[in-house]
Amino acid sequence: MKPWMRTVGLTLACTAAAGGAGALALVYSGWYDSSATQPHTPPVNAVLEAALQRSITVRAADIAVPPLDDPQRAIDGFRLFRAHCVQCHGAPGVAPEPFARGLMPAPAALVDTARHWPPSEIYWVIRQGVKMTGMPAWQYRMSDAGMWDVVAFMKVLPGLSPAQYRDWESRYAGSGAPGPGPAVPAASRAAVPDATDLRLGDAETGRRVMQQYLCVTCHAIPGVVGANRHVGPPLGGIANQRYIAGILPNTPANLVRWLRDPSAIDPMSAMPDLDVSEQDARDMAAFLYTLDDAR
């Protein structure tokens, strides 16, 4: 062995050892926050998203997609969707159940998924699930044809208005599938009478709360990690917006009303009722009013 090889080898070994020790110290110190209330840092989020996307694309590359346009297939898929998917993912005008709103990462709005993901990859995710998310592997709980039925329904889903989705509910839901009843917000904080010691809205708290009500799955929101979808309108510049939802003059009181009870203001809206408490709505409004045209 030549001397320079020895130097290079030793340097590499020392660097590796130092790196390993650093990583170990980082893990053991508990520096990384594993709570579902604290979002990933933007770089970590970007790496995780890219790794997930590539992992799925590579593995789903050879899946042959069966015909999906049979209307009966979509109806069968809707029944499965209603029984197993809507609880976490929601639907047009239908909020995910309270337990699902606290998940990190947030369960995707499937309208957006259908608009951007190929059928083979959607099928693969339904079949295999996703590690360290709430997404289970359905292959052990659903037939192969059933999983493709769900994909067939997801092809129809982005074309349904909230009113049309309700129409599907009344026409096709009664097949014995154990779908959820009307959302019961009994366990939610909103059902508790508001405390008398409400404080003024706090923008930083509001920014964190945006994650907990799944705002991030539908809206592009400057300053909120991972919020880059276009199901609802982008919220950048909302402070300068004249109307809320095209209907309500944009005042702080109206914004709080809208956040708490959108269906009372616009029964046709795709924005669901998320059982937002008065305090959380105030905090979110305070945050949203920091989003002026400059952002």
Binding site: V58, A61, D112, T113, G159, A220, G232, Q241, D266
Partner: protein, 158 residues
Amino acid sequence: MSQAKTPGIFMDCLSHAGRLGLGVRPRGICRLPAWLGAGLLLAALSGCGEPAAPLAPPAQASALPGADVARGRQRIAEYGCASCHTIPGVRGPSARVGPPLRHLASRAYLAGVLANTPGNLVRWLRDPPAISPRTAMPNLGLSEADARDVAAYLLTLR
């Protein structure tokens, strides 16, 4: 080369290479086992082709045959859309009365109530209050042809 002096892993690789007919004679350190190399290569190659089409692709201006994007942009100026909306490519006061129309083609819903399809966009432009009675957007009396042209332009805003 005597077998007694050769580490086991070396022979493994050698036999892999032999089996694959590579005719490689590893020297000094061993190459990656053939199965690992092939696996990495496969992983690198798969998914590198054309990305597969989405399940339900967002609306395209081409879905409106006969509609003209350039004429649509002109109609937007004539109908004064920019007095309420900020519209990329259309000069105006950066108004914030209606929502800004950037990314309109990427949006899943129109006015929060209607799936964003080319047909629905034309319907919405022709008579918004008929679809959402409480909307602040007025009926501007667009003809079918004008609405199709305007929709074609708006669907270029990704």
